[in-house]
């Protein structure tokens, strides 16, 4: 008769049983593998913060070949889209329709003179009214029409190149450009402004370099000053799927691991099977490890699935190390499974376990930086986010996927996740052992 049963045998028996049960439960499988798919698609398509092809009107008061060149150059990277007389140059009308109808019903006039970009010192004189820049009604688009396009939502940005613009630029004098942006959508306003500022920063940089090359020696600070222009890196279009997917992945893992683990154990308690297991000589730690392992695998599968969908459907880049991704996912899983286990030790029924999982998941998601940037939270709440494993995982995912950040950049987050994971699992196992039935 087996006196001290082999732990390996016990462990394998638990893993096998747990896997079989999950595999036989069709609803569970759908939830574990189909859920992620659905969530990703919903979040990817419905929550769209991406800014591109901002409808833009150009008032070319200069009417020179250089000014037309600049107008085209401004549209070149696709962030801005030139609309002429309310019609777009390319065929992408559907997005335009959505945008313009959403901004058209804003009550106050949505014309906000928010950016005054110049090729010399940007914003030195501040924004100027449209008619002070020597732009008359002459040319292909009169100022009044641009104004109207902004008000009725046909355009979200207007770029005014005043008369004499190319001449001033060529002489090395300060040339003025006015950019008027519809500020009802701050995201879009920021991106459009940055696109214009970025373009002219490049132009003035080129000009300066050309001039320096001509004159051979002159310190760069003397004139035609280059000023710093803020630019959004890595995700300049505020592309939302690449930004959202890491957040959605972290949320998914909570649902498939925390809630499912908590409910799974609560179900065993409810059905009485836990008592039947606890009367065997199996150790609680062996039992729990065996029960959790299949969910570690499922967690990894879900993350891989999310990455694949992200990459193929939403152009999510994977710039960083995959080993780092896997390591981060593993230590994150320790936390989410540990929390699930902890919840199961304080709930008597599956319902309570579900509620407990939900009560953990909601604040964890809200305080993770997935939905709102942590920096925009009140200070005390920012402090709370340091206790949230989700925060670290989202940080790692975003930095790894979008920026290609490596081990040396992210080791603090990994250590934090490891500490949380091991700590929570330990406490949960202790509690489980104590109130076994």
């Amino acid at each position: 008769m087996p006196r001290r049963p082999s732990r390996r045998t016990q462990f394998l028996a638990v893993v096998r049983k747990e896997t079989l049960q999950t595999a036989r439960d069709k609803r569970m499988l759908v939830m574990l593998l189909g859920g992620p798919l659905l969530q990703l698609l919903v979040f990817g398509y419905a929550v769209d913060f991406k800014v591109d092809r901002v409808p833009t009107v150009v008032v070319d008061g200069d009417q020179t070949s250089e000014s037309r060149e600049h107008a085209r150059g401004l549209m070149a990277d696709g962030t801005l889209r030139w609309v002429k007389g309310g019609k777009s140059e390319d065929g992408g009308g559907s997005r335009n329709g959505r945008r313009s109808s959403s901004s058209a019903n804003v009550a106050p006039p949505p014309v906000t003179p928010s950016v005054g970009a110049t090729s010399g010192s940007p914003g030195a004189e501040g924004p100027a009214p449209l008619d002070r820049l020597g732009v008359s009604g002459a040319g292909p688009m009169p100022v009044a029409e641009a104004d109207a396009a902004l008000v009725n939502g046909d355009a979200a940005a207007a770029i005014i190149l005043p008369k004499g613009f190319s001449r001033d630029l060529a002489r090395g004098e300060t040339a003025h450009v006015q950019v008027v942006i519809d500020g009802t959508d701050p995201n879009r306003a920021t991106v459009a402004g940055a696109a214009v500022a970025g373009y002219f920063a490049e132009v003035s940089g080129d000009l300066l370099r050309a001039r320096l090359a001509q004159q051979a020696t002159r310190p760069a600070t003397a004139s035609g000053g280059i000023s710093l222009v803020p630019r959004i890196w890595f995700n300049p279009g505020l592309d939302s799927p690449p930004f959202m997917i890491p957040g959605v992945m972290a949320m998914l893992v909570i649902i498939v691991t925390t809630i499912v683990t908590a409910m799974g154990l609560a179900r065993e308690r409810e059905m009485g099977t836990l008592e039947q297991v606890l009367v065997t000589p199996i150790r609680p730690s062996v039992l729990l490890l065996g029960k959790l392992l299949p969910y570690v695998v499922i967690g990894f599968l879900d993350v891989a699935l999310a990455l694949a969908i992200g990459a193929y459907v939403f152009d999510l880049p994977i710039r960083g190390s995959r080993a780092l991704l896997a390591a981060a996912t593993f230590v994150y899983l320790l936390s989410t499974l540990g929390v699930g286990l902890l919840i199961s030790t304080i709930s008597k029924t599956q319902q309570q376990a579900f509620l407990g999982g939900f009560l953990f998941a909601m604040p964890a998601i809200l305080l993770s930086g997935v939905m709102t940037p942590i920096r925009s939270m009140p200070l005390w709440l920012q402090a709370v986010t340091y206790l949230n494993p989700l925060r670290y995982y989202v940080e790692v995912l975003r930095a790894n996927l979008l920026k290609g950040a490596g081990w040396s950049d992210l080791w603090t987050q990994l250590v934090a996740l490891l500490v949380f994971g091991v700590g929570i699992l330990f406490v949960a196992t202790m509690r489980f052992r104590k109130r076994a039935v």
Binding site: M1, P2, R3, P5, Q21, V437
Partner: protein
């Protein structure tokens, strides 16, 4: 190896202010079938759960299979099998997978596991349903599977908590055949039941009333001690009508309808079958009268009645 299989000493379990098990002490010999009887809520399951290491007693000690339950619960668990009152195998798994899981939990693997699985399937007559989903099986077969899972690892002792509750009479009979086979093989069986006819199969019986163990002995001795009266069965076409005249017979304590006839209880030595038959005949009822043994039900009623009275007197 002659030490008792189970030794319980002054076990007490309190839930809040309610005492579910109150100063219970007993020993169970190796290889015997020990019946644990009591009404609902008497504390049977609580006692078993303490002995299996599932519940810590408030006070008192227990030794099972030679191991202290408090100090070496793992050794105790490796030596026992347990079938809980509520069916608690995995309903969503096939029969064979339940056996495989519990076998593994008890440390069986490879050839040993396969051999025992076959033996248990054979023994409990489950070979045909090995691939059936457990939840689809009728109650009687499920109970046999639960017993199979509890004895896979050939434990020294099995604890069966109301294994035949809600099972039809045929299935109950099959089940008890299995229990007796186990016992013949040397396994100690600790079984609780509500069915007093089943209790007759037990070598010894402990009777629980409100958390206290009020009687413990062999069925025969229990009957002698607790039902000293002689019992007679009265049968015949008009037996029921003879109840009035029979009550008048000297020494008769009680006459109760039983089926189509009557059961008569009388003081020992004061009346015989003939006396009763004559008395019924004198009243014009032709009946058969036969001395019978009291049943455990009689014992149970006598004991419970006595402790209820004691309680009233005490209050």
């Amino acid at each position: 190896m002659s030490a008792p299989a189970i030794v319980a000493r002054h076990l007490k379990k309190r839930f809040g202010t309610f005492v579910a098990v109150d100063d219970v002490s007993f020993e169970v010999e190796r290889g015997e079938i020990f019946g644990y009887l009591g009404a609902n809520g008497a504390g049977k399951s609580t006692t078993i759960r303490i002995l299996c290491g599932l519940l810590e007693p408030t006070s008192g000690t227990a030794t099972v299979a030679g191991h202290s339950v408090a100090e070496d619960p793992e050794a105790v668990k490796a030596s026992i099998g347990y079938m809980s009152q509520k069916f608690s195998l995995y309903l969503d798994l096939p029969v064979a997978e339940n056996l495989a899981f519990f076998g593994g939990a008890y440390g069986l693997s490879g050839r040993a596991l396969r051999r025992r699985t076959e033996e248990v399937l054979e023994l409990s007559g489950l070979a045909e349903v090995r691939d059936a989903q457990t939840g689809s099986l009728p109650g009687g077969i499920r109970q046999r599977l639960a017993l199979g899972c509890a004895v896979l690892h050939q434990p020294e002792i099995v604890f069966l908590d109301e294994p035949t509750a809600g099972v039809d009479p045929t299935a109950r009979r099959i089940f008890w055949k299995l229990i007796r086979e186990l016992s013949r093989g040397g396994t100690t069986v600790f079984v609780t039941t509500h069915y007093l006819d089943e209790a007759e199969y037990c070598a010894r019986i402990g009777l629980m009333v409100d958390g206290r163990l009020v009687a413990l002995d062999t069925p025969a001795q229990l009957k002698r001690t607790h039902v000293p009266d002689r019992m007679f069965a009265v049968r015949g076409p008009n037996a029921a009508r003879a109840s009035g005249p029979l009550r008048q017979v000297a020494g008769v304590r009680n006459v109760e309808p039983f089926g189509a006839g009557l059961h008569v209880r009388a003081e020992p030595g004061r009346c015989e079958a003939q006396t009763l038959r004559a008395a019924a005949g004198a009243a014009g009822h032709q009946v058969e009268v036969e001395p019978i043994d009291p049943t455990l039900e009689d014992v149970f009623l006598a004991v419970v009645g006595r402790s209820a009275k004691k309680e009233e007197d005490g209050a």
